[in-house]
Subunit: 395 residues, 2 copies
């Protein structure tokens, strides 16, 4: 099956080069995953550094059987592989194609290409989960203050049906996930290692809770170690997949400040929570606010919503990926669809009030939405149909 082959080729490519490698991404963009893999296997990568790196990894053997093993392992772990050819692929990741970080020449700062694939645990289709999402990042060695603020912001965002996105570390990352979970919201941990690696191990229970109701995702195949540079490679995804990034606490030049720098380069809202100037854990935050005019100080969830609300639907790059089926809906249908809660059902009456649409129109449009496969009747009302369950459009 061609689709499986696409997945296999992409996974094999991630075994040959670290995610973000521009030369590999360009090959795939120009020639497709199969041809790109063949070229990589034949050493035909224009970029010398990438060619050398791929050659070194080829020393470990043909990546195709290894990719098959990885896919089988993933399936056993309950992890699916999502690729750009899938409907649920978040289109906004394409903004990574041309982004450049100013004033740096480190490899991890140059190799910012979009991911080749994601390993995913959790039921939510990626595009839907990330449609209204905010990253909350910060220091591992957070203070009580930082954890309190991160939890509070995540709770407030989740309560308003925004997805919270972070890494899987102690401190701010964990506090953000806990806040979102406490609000019964959707939270996503973007890992920098294999999906089965609970790293740090002490967060194992947290990861399980996240996978149950939200998403665990990673670009790395099962078995991949959480190597130091991978956290920086991963950070470009956190910045690019969300509508904005909030930095809560960070020491000077910490990894979390690097996520914010990526958000700034991507022209996404870069939001920073200040703290006491006497706290070393706020030095990185204040540094960002002092150095970057586009970074905005935020002190509460209202400030965050003000920033991420602004850009609205401008997030997705124009004419990128398959046509969004929602584009066919008229304004009222779109409005009604947007007003249906992410979880649970809503009665037509309640929906009409929430969307500010009269009840007759509401009923008519709900029938249309049901016919198109966007909603389903449940518990005497209507509920959203997850994107993954909808009819696949022909490619």
């Amino acid at each position: 099956m061609a689709e499986t082959d696409l997945r296999l080729a992409r996974v094999a490519l991630t075994l040959l080069a670290e995610p973000g490698t521009r030369a590999v991404h360009r090959l795939v963009a120009r020639h497709g995953p199969h041809e790109a893999l063949s070229m990589a296997l034949a050493g035909e990568i224009p970029d010398e550094a990438a060619r050398d790196a791929v050659r070194a990894r080829l020393g470990a053997g043909d990546p195709r059987p290894a990719a098959e093993t990885a896919l089988a392992t993933g399936e056993r772990l309950g992890a699916r592989v999502v690729i750009p050819e899938d409907d649920e692929w978040p289109a906004q990741l394409a903004t990574l194609e041309h982004v450049q970080l100013a004033g740096t020449d480190r490899r991890v700062d140059r190799e910012l290409a979009p991911p080749l694939c994601f390993w995913v645990r959790g039921a939510w289709p990626l595009a839907e989960a990330f449609d209204r999402s905010v990253a909350i990042v910060g220091s591992r060695a957070a203070t009580q203050y930082g954890e309190h603020v991160a939890t509070d912001l995540a709770y407030g965002l989740a309560e308003r049906e925004w997805t919270v996105v972070s890494g899987g570390a102690f401190g701010i990352d964990a506090a953000a996930h806990r806040g979102a979970l406490a609000a019964g919201g959707l939270t996503v941990a973007v890992l920098a290692c294999g999906i089965e690696r609970a790293y740090p191990v002490a967060n194992t229970a947290l990861f399980e809770r996240i996978a149950d109701t939200g998403l665990l995702i990673t670009e790395w195949p099962p078995g991949a170690d959480p190597l130091r540079p991978r956290f920086l490679i991963r950070n470009r995804v956190i910045a690019a997949v969300t509508r904005g990034t909030v930095l809560v606490e960070a020491a000077a030049r910490s990894g979390a400040t690097q996520t914010v720098r990526r958000a700034i380069a991507l022209r996404r809202p870069a939001m920073v929570v200040p703290g006491p100037v006497t706290s070393a854990m706020s030095v990185g935050c204040h540094e960002i606010l002092r150095l970057h005019d586009s970074a905005r100080l935020v002190a509460n969830v209202g400030h965050v919503l003000e920033e991420v609300g602004r850009i609205g639907a401008d997030l997705a790059p124009t004419a990128q990926g398959p046509e969004n089926p929602r584009d066919q809906l008229d304004d009222q249908a779109t409005f009604l669809l947007e007003s249906i809660p992410r979880r649970g059902a809503i009665s037509p009456d309640a929906l009409a009030v929430r969307a500010g649409v009269d009840i007759r129109t509401t009923l008519r449009k709900l029938t249309l939405l049901e016919t198109l496969g966007f909603v389903t009747r449940r518990d005497g009302g209507y509920a959203l149909v997850p994107l993954a369950l909808r009819r696949r459009e022909p490619p």
Copy 2:
């Protein structure tokens, strides 16, 4: 004596209208203090609101004898009256002439004219004291954090021979003065009432210490009450006389944030110390940072110096006031003069090292500086001659 008459006329005018009244300032600028006073007494003020206010105060009787009494009282209190005609008048106050605050129509936000005179306790000539000065302002109900930061910043500034300027309130104001005093530095309290009014009374001892080594100044004559609007009227002076204003802690829309707004309108560095977003006492600080692109976050004394250091000698309006006698000095003499400590004497050897000038040149230039009246021999070295003791230039 004409000079006494000028002072008397200006003091009489301050008895007829609150400081900052533009109509009165314009009269003085166009016709001189004497003629302006005559016109005010005759009810010839073009602005209706100002005319009515002056007429109401004239009901209390002729302001000239009251002004004479005030001057006699001031002398008894050890306070001198400084007027714009004096060499020591800080020329930078002229920037208040045309400044406008955006988005407000309150009287105190419109009436921002330069002061007509100052009542002063303390030996320092105003122009010298304010030449390198930074305002540190903030909340009366400051937290321990805010007081700590204010004290620390003031100490650091005073240590580097910058004058600290603030009001006379509890909290941040008092903490700033204490920090500067602890460093043996020069600190100035700008009051919003008569010079003899220790307000708040609990700060009496602090005011005495400030008057001993620094300056207590006010625009209001002896006996004037610390009325609420006067703090806002006073704030324009704190913003205009310094090279920049640092806001340490402030509740939303507090008086201290108003000082920063005045600094912004005057295009002076407006610096803000952030704090925990969980603290009500930092809400005003974060508000300023969010609303004003020109406001800069500062976390330490280095950040403050970076801001106020930038504008250098640009502060004084061009072609304003008498020529500065220092303009006649060559680079080496200027450098040596700048290197002499504000207090105490320095040996020629130590001065040569400090200024990075060879000892022969140092001795030659010191002789020149002594002849010109800039320095005097004392304690086996050389010390600065305060501006007030120098020969008056012909007007």
